[in-house]
């Protein structure tokens, strides 16, 4: 029998998240309002860089950004002046096409700057089309091929245990990505190896490349499925910063079992004509659309 040591309910920990004084587990310990402001700035920069390069993936960047801000702004233990610090927490962006979200957060933490992200997708830029650890400081994985990130995270989690390190390994995947068989290999293996330092966030925006997930190949009740593989799972509104912070703290603290957060999100969140619109998975806004987006976000 497995001990259900950790509350499934994120609400139990939320009071602590919001009110607590600086904790060693919350290096940035930002408040909800600050986080929401940061997320808004990130959204603006996501649109800016994609508009500038006239290519990239706005939909999945905008759906993921609140979770990413919530993570970096609270528990993710990194050293912004030394992004390669060996004992940092890892953030593995498996849905690597949502790279603008990552570049926007690295900009917020001063690891890259506006000049860097405005060169997104151009020759020689450190901001490659898909996030790549070989090109960008602060990026922990070379992504682009869906389905691989959780396996990589599992390797990082083994290494952390061998090093007797407290570092946590966070992995974000898309819901379309859960159609990849390799992801379930990793979910099964993480249970067997009791990888409590491994944390999975599923960006459940209901849209993949061609169309809605429900039309391409519905993935069903992910919470139940992942839970049946032995994980602790909670489900939240992935755009509600309070819920996000609560769930992140819950997952951060749970160290017995691998922990998963299913974040129900809206693809393209924040830009009216992109919201829940499959055609903005991998399409840049034109000039007119860009101005509408900027108005809506400011």
């Amino acid at each position: 029998m497995r001990l259900k040591k950790y509350q499934k309910n994120w609400k139990a920990s939320i009071a602590f998240t919001i009110t607590s004084a600086i904790s060693e587990y919350m290096p940035f310990n930002m408040g909800i309002v600050e986080l929401e402001e940061m997320a808004l700035r990130c959204r603006i920069n996501i649109i800016k860089m994609i508009h500038k390069s006239q290519s990239g993936h706005p939909g999945g960047s905008l759906s993921a950004i609140d979770m990413i801000v919530g993570l970096y702004g609270t528990v993710l233990n990194i050293d912004t002046s030394n992004p390669n610090w060996k004992d940092r927490d890892r953030f593995i962006m498996s849905k690597g096409h949502a790279s603008p979200a990552i570049y926007s957060i690295l900009n917020e933490f001063g690891i890259i700057n506006e000049k860097d992200f405005m060169s997104f997708r151009t020759l020689g830029s450190i901001c490659q089309g898909h996030v790549d650890m070989k090109w960008t400081d602060g990026v922990d994985f070379s992504a682009g091929s869906l389905g691989m990130g959780l396996s990589f995270g599992l390797g990082c989690s083994f290494a952390a245990k061998l090093d007797n390190s407290q570092r946590n390994i966070w992995v974000m995947v898309g819901d379309g990505e859960t159609q990849e068989g390799q992801l379930w290999e990793a979910i099964m293996a993480a249970d067997f190896h009791s990888s409590g330092n491994l944390k999975l966030i599923v960006d459940r925006n209901g849209i993949q490349n061609d169309d809605f997930v429900s039309k391409q190949m519905e993935v069903g009740n992910l919470s139940k499925k992942i839970e049946s593989f032995g994980w602790e799972v909670t489900e939240i509104d992935g755009h509600n910063m309070e819920e996000i912070c609560g769930a992140i703290k819950w997952a951060n603290d749970g160290q017995e079992r691998p922990m998963a957060i299913i974040a129900n999100t809206i693809k393209g969140k924040g830009v009216s004509y992109m919201e829940n619109n499959p055609s903005f998975h991998g399409k840049a806004p034109n000039d007119e659309e860009y101005h509408i987006a900027m108005e809506e976000l400011s």
């Binding site: 396996s151 990589f152 599992l154 990082c156 083994f158 990793a186």
Partner: protein
Amino acid sequence: MSVPSEGGASRDGYGNALLRLAENSDVVVLEADLGKSTKSCHFRSKYPERTFSLGIAEQNMMLVAAGLASSGKIPMASTFAIFTERGFEQIRNGIARPCLKAHICGSHGGIHTGSDGSSAQSIEDLAIYRTLPNMTIIHPADDISAEELTMQVVDLEGPSYMRTIRNKVPRSYSEETKNELKIGKGSLLRDGNDVVIICCGVMVSKSIDAAIILEKEGINAAVIDMHTIKPLDEQMLDLWSKKCRCIVTAEDHSIIGGLGSAIAEHNSRTNLVPMEMIGVKDRFGESGDSEELFKIMSMTTEDIVKAARKSISRK
């Protein structure tokens, strides 16, 4: 099975090397339910805390290796050569592209694997991994050289793929001559100036046998064990193709894309000397004894002898 009672299988060399490498606490072993076959099982028995069993799930294993390597560990992941291929794109995008120091061993390579039949006989692994930037590709001849080359793999600056063999073959190396082995440098096993036989894996001992037969005909054949298929020892190639002015290649692998192809690519850019290739000629294997299979595929010692005569006649 008519395997020689003397000799060694390269998979045993790999297993021995893992035990020796264990001294370095960063070395970890990954398995996909074939540790008894690839011989990582010995490491597992002695160092269970550093051995990760990932089940029959090769794609996951490749990225777990990458994650470990990115965190400073030295992962040694093995399964059958053929099943590493299921994770080809994982190796490509997850290991080779970010140039992570993860080392993959595919055992039971080639048709030499025998009676398991074509599904287990990888005849294309060297070809597919050779196309990946950053990868070092190694295929040792026997247990002694496999052990020595595995010891060196961990010092590489990037990832590697090593193909080992299930069955025992006559040894081409001894405890003394193994010291001359170096990744990226071909090993001259026999001097000669009429033809150079460049070979790898189980074809090395056959090539030496062929050279002995040729000597009786007054033909001096040099034999080079080109255990490192990539990076190819081009300097040595140039030297010996100039000296002998004709080449035979021999490998237990498809003639499309393997050692012979690598040498032909170089030869076509440089010295252009006649060349004959021994290998699997664009077909799958089947069940049978290794030697029977080599016979029906024209890959015996006698076939190497014939290829040498033909290559010489084309000078």
